[in-house]
Symmetry: C2
Subunit: 130 residues, 2 copies
């Protein structure tokens, strides 16, 4: 299979596939005489794995480790779990940050007339009362 075919089957952009190869997440693809990358269904499976991990927000660095653990049939699940837990912690931190921003912003937006008049609690807050 050429890269376009595998891109379709995995729903991963060709550009990303080449990038994953550079990052060492995908094995280096074999080449035809003309230099075209060649793939098999096994590569499609890896790419789907990567795609799913991206959807769960894992970094490419984490994904590289996860793919390697996935391939290693004698991995300890503790290693997988620790990567996932670290990621969960980071997501929870982000979540709190966003919730805190939203809590402030929603109050400000609610109190802003949003009409032709210049007075605006949003700007007042940002200018912390000048």
């Amino acid at each position: 299979m050429n890269i376009g075919e595998v891109a379709k089957l995995s729903d991963v952009n060709s550009k990303s596939i080449r990038r994953y190869e550079e990052l060492g997440i995908m094995p280096k693809a074999g080449r035809t005489m003309a230099g075209y990358r060649q793939y098999s269904m096994n590569d499609v499976h890896i790419l789907r794995f990567v795609k799913r991990a991206r959807e769960l927000g894992f970094s490419m660095k984490d994904i590289k480790q996860l793919v390697s653990l996935w391939k290693n049939k004698s991995r300890p699940s503790s290693q997988v779990k620790s990567i996932a837990k670290k990621h969960v912690d980071e997501l929870e931190k982000k979540l709190e940050e966003i919730q805190s921003m939203l809590s402030t912003l929603n109050k400000l937006v609610k109190n802003c007339h949003g009409d032709g008049r210049p007075d605006c609690p949003i700007l007042d807050d940002l200018g912390h009362g000048e």
Copy 2:
């Protein structure tokens, strides 16, 4: 004031201050004969405004508009509100994405033994059952 002084007073990094000038968020600073940027307390106020807006997650593009509206004493508050509402919408979208990731991840992590054994629901999910 030199840039270091204003950086201390506003709690904004010197590098960022120069960057904000490039982006047109800060007015171009006057210079001493030696080329050092010169600032006044007014600049400190602007920088605090920017910092607060960053803390609320606004993009630099939004912040540029917000600073300009803030300076314009005859702005319509509707413009400010619309920027803020768009930002709230984006944050809420991100929030939902993260919540959805966390919901999946937490289930998977909970069901993973996390010991020396290789079987792992996290990898099973990512490999969607291979």
